[in-house]
Symmetry: D2
Subunit: 383 residues, 4 copies
């Protein structure tokens, strides 16, 4: 799969980031191995040429052992660096590097899941992965959202103290229309009804590009669902689908089609963010160890499951905020250059690191991507 990378690559690339941007910020720095700079650059044109992503899967050399040794060597140098008094600019890069590594921790899990799925025998990544508890069915309730002008976004970092990626700032005002949000994510049972009632056979539910993907890719259900609609492939291998857990591994096209079929729509990223602002960032993250979404457990009123379980596709195209400024230098390539042709997702998933998320956090993928833990929450206009 051209969008996924092997685990070895993620390991090496995370260290590459620290070497390239933290250690090498010292002009006297001598790289451990110049070749690795080429191999494990992801997409930083400013830094130089790089090994093409679709070929990453063919990298049998360097070996995993070499990668781990390289990683240990970078870590040792980072240890020495961190023992000294860090210039503020370097301290910021280190902080950014930690958030960057958390992102790759999640990708590493979703890429491994896809890699195991791609093996003809479909082995489990971990046979001993515990089963998440099953939830009771819960009716969907609508929560009225605020309307009018509200503030969204984060104060720019590192000018401000709290970390945020550049794509989350500046903080600015947006206008919310009258709307309501579902209090929980769409469940497997609800999505199965869409499938069984011909959702993948009726072009009227779909965006034009979505219908083209359905036909070209032969989609008939979410990625990882078995043809019987009863089992799904997880990081623990084949398992029965929990009907009341959130559906995931949907493309934007599928989330959008489901919402249209259900007489609703996807939320905008600002409707979501305003609802999530002030809500504690707690939920089913990777640290919980389930590595799979689970049904809403809390009985709280108001939108639940905003964080964790499954990323929520929004109807917002990924675009810069008014007054957006990319980070200076090569780090300016971190987010800004992808601001075209992708959709925003919010809230994190069961594969995200627990401390990584916040209400203003913006993730983004192409509308046809579905190997992330991506699901949806319904929204609707109010009169």
């Amino acid at each position: 799969m051209p969008d996924a990378s092997p685990a070895k690559w993620h390991l090496a690339h995370s260290s590459w980031f620290f070497e390239q941007f933290a250690l090498a910020s010292d002009p006297a720095y001598v790289p451990l191995d110049a070749d690795w700079t080429y191999l494990f650059n992801s997409y930083y044109d400013t830094v130089g040429a790089r090994h093409a992503r679709p070929h990453r899967g063919l990298l049998s050399r360097p070996t995993l052992a070499q990668v781990l040794a390289h990683r240990a060597a970078v870590d040792a140098r980072m240890d020495r660096l961190l023992c000294a008094a860090l210039p503020p600019r370097v301290a910021q890069v280190v902080q950014l590097g930690l958030h960057h590594e958390q992102q790759h921790q999640e990708l590493l899990l979703t890429d491994i899941k896809h890699a195991y799925w791609s093996q003809p025998l479909r082995p489990a990544w971990r046979e001993d992965l515990p089963h998440p508890p099953r939830a009771e069915p819960q009716p969907l309730r609508w929560c009225e959202g605020d309307q009018g002008i509200v503030e969204v976004g984060a104060a720019p970092w590192p000018a401000g103290e709290a970390f945020a990626f550049d794509n989350e700032s500046p903080r600015h005002r947006v206008l919310l229309s009258p709307h309501a949000l579902a209090d929980r994510l769409v469940t497997n049972a609800e999505y199965r009804a869409f499938v069984e009632r011909g959702g993948y056979r009726e072009p009227g539910h779909w965006l034009s590009a979505g219908w083209a993907s359905v036909q070209a890719q032969g989609w008939r259900a979410p990625l990882y669902w078995d043809d019987d609609l009863a089992r799904e492939f997880t990081l623990g291998g084949w398992r029965d689908i929990d009907p009341h857990a959130p559906v995931c591994h949907l493309s934007y096209f599928e989330a959008d089609a489901f919402a249209r079929w259900a007489g609703a729509r996807l939320p905008t990223e600002f409707e979501w963010e305003h609802a999530a602002a002030g809500v504690p960032v707690a939920g089913n993250f990777a640290d919980a160890g389930w590595m799979h979404p689970m049904g809403a457990m809390s009985r709280a009123t108001g939108p639940r499951q905003l964080f964790g379980d499954a990323w929520e596709w929004t109807s917002s195209a990924y675009a810069p905020y008014p007054g957006f400024r990319a980070m200076p230098g090569a780090l300016g390539e971190y987010n800004g250059k992808f601001m075209c042709g992708q959709q925003v997702l919010r809230g994190g998933s069961c594969a995200s690191a627990a401390g990584h998320l916040r209400a203003s956090y913006r993730n983004f993928f192409h509308a046809a991507d579905r190997w992330q833990f991506s699901g949806l929450r319904l929204a609707k206009d109010r009169p």
Copy 2:
């Protein structure tokens, strides 16, 4: 070129629309030829299967003579229909069909231009096409836009009297940030400076997907420019580039990269619409006969060239307005299903029909498309 269709197809398809949606609204209607329904359906899944667009160029049969005869037969039936008292629903479809045909008149011109360009000998479509007058150079002046909440969009048609496509409604409120708009379009001379100063060689100016297009397609200048940057291919054949006429045949990626290089940005579609609201819809349209953009002639203060000359790429992704409702039935496929992955353009071009445009009119293309007469106007944030 897979996005373009032959002239014959446009001719047949415009008639198909009238036959399919106006004539065939009478249940007793007997189609002229059932095969043509298949051949000249563009993208209406509801209506049935269709001939794939990339294969349209291979349609040597039916011949042009057969298409013209078919067109005449549909016209004759339409004449009879229009002599009777029309049910309102049919009258609306006829009105829609006329606007639809105007859209294909423009596509017919841009597709012909590309088809002639694709001939190895690069013949002129019309050797006798007059040369548009050349304008004096004019300094770019910035015009402050309004900020705060403004109203945009059109009242829904046919509920309201004035025609508008479904994607322009409902009329709704948006929030404008402090901004300014350039008073004219970017010129060939300005764009040439970008090219000559390495604009196509420096990835830092480009969106990631844009840079990928530059490399994959070998872009080095706007479509139709000669390598010497002095001549361009027009519907009248090769001509010297007028330095003070608007640059056109840019992709969104090129417009965006130029704006970034120039220290500015593209306008949002709402900044544009609010500036254009109330401005008379006049300019260099197809009816003027130049079939090519020309320099700003008016000495008016405020934004000029809002209508005609070249479509203006905006930074807005094409998306539904809050409360958007598609037209009922097959006509619901007209616009709504394309609301993902494309960018909005505003204002019309030298190939648009004069009566076709309005301030709320939304055109949309993919970010890499550049065979339309598409250019740009700069915008910037104000403190």
Copy 3:
């Protein structure tokens, strides 16, 4: 179809050959239009760059009228040339050009057939094409071939008087094994039995590359057969299949699979040539006007239908004869450079010009090609 060319191209290319190799052999010759040299070169690398074959179908300019006018202008110059005393070298090129044009006359017919087939409405090329007479069923009889050393091939031309292409010479000795040849071509009825008994579903009948083609192309019957196995598309449109006429439009893979299924094999090109040597070159050629194979009419003993009706695939890979010499100069590219990866066919077809064939004539196509009038005759080993 990338292997086919539009009729306009064949017309221009045949004239190009005369202009390039006959008229332009005079160093003072001024070409009618240098651009045409580029456009209508087929594959002569020595002559210069050329328009790629897969793009020939997009050549809307020059128009047919321009091509015909160009052709008339070349013809007029050729008339003047032929009125003078020709140097032998030029006279030879003219003779070669006539044989070359005959080859394109056949390709023009097979390409037109495919082009009409590719139109979604499948129109007839000529509604008034007469139906060939139907033959009585005739049992297949085996004719013993000679064994031992025999002579094949043609004396080199122009050293010798009789015209032959360079790939037919030199005349040389080959060793024939004990074998027998069928006295007629395989019929539609016989091939239909292969189809109905699962011939296209059983990999054991097929060469490995042939089975790959069956699966990749979805072959289920000869090209142009309807799914009902009862009708076929001809230059006169859809017609009932004559069960006792020769099957045609087979790839080498299909001919080979049928022969294996039938417990036989294909003849070598030398078994065929030795059987055909001395047989009058008569049969169902294009001049007869049927433009379709017909059943064996003659009651002669010995192999019949050796010439005309359908090209006969042989088991011989296309290769140079011992001592082969290509023609000098650019004409050396005529045949020799294709001597790898193709199979030899013998005997001509219902689309060949009557005077064009001879026993030593070698045609060649790729094993997967089936848009020619290509069928087969069975052969078998004798103890």
Copy 4:
């Protein structure tokens, strides 16, 4: 590279052959793991579906350890089988399986070489690989071959006692033209002269399909040669090219073009076989440990280096011998179904097992393949 397989696959497939054809010939046999039958079938359609070759490189599971354990389990069962009295049919399959495994030993080496080459850092497979001794330059001498009718091929096995693959039989008579063979292989120095004198830039030297490969693949020298024409990539990493060692890693197209440029031609497979008949099968095979061709050491008169060093491309298309019979059952797919579209190579290479070759041995690859140790010997016609 779609033609190559990972080492793990070769290991598993060689054992699969023994399990499938020897162990499973007992109807009561219970396979070790049915999934492996699917995974490690190469191309036996009769045996069932299989994992597609281009996807073999993505098989991260089963792991190497699992493959080795599986292999040990098959070996243990084979040990038990071999201790009993074997039915003749099973004994033959075992013998065939050993020859089959030798073939995969060679492919394993050539595939590994290509896999290391495909790593961006181009590591050596074995840093400690010894350098073969360098030979003195030796002038090329021509050896007259016999002409007239000679016998080639092997008696059918297992009817006869001596092992031979089915494609080598039956023994039969062929007619040799007057010819001469070079007494040694073409050397790196000779081939370098071809490169330096523009061999890859002049279409006149090439077959048409060869020239298309040169352009599409960007060939400018043999595979594994550095741009400086002084170093080549070997199983021991980058090394200086020995000018007097045989050139290798040529496609058929390159071998053919060189021969044409040199005013010679390639031998037919029968010219080669007749010259090799009776010559001891000795030379630079894998068992010597060099894993790379070396210059001719022997001072013998007559053709040298017939066995080992580099496979010799012949001008013969791979085709069945008169009266060829494939082996019965699934093993009939071993060779026969590839008899179209490939060229025969003779003599073995520095990566072949020493006991594997014989004069009648026929190897075959596609004309564009060049990852085998494939070179050439010149031949020419005699008057």
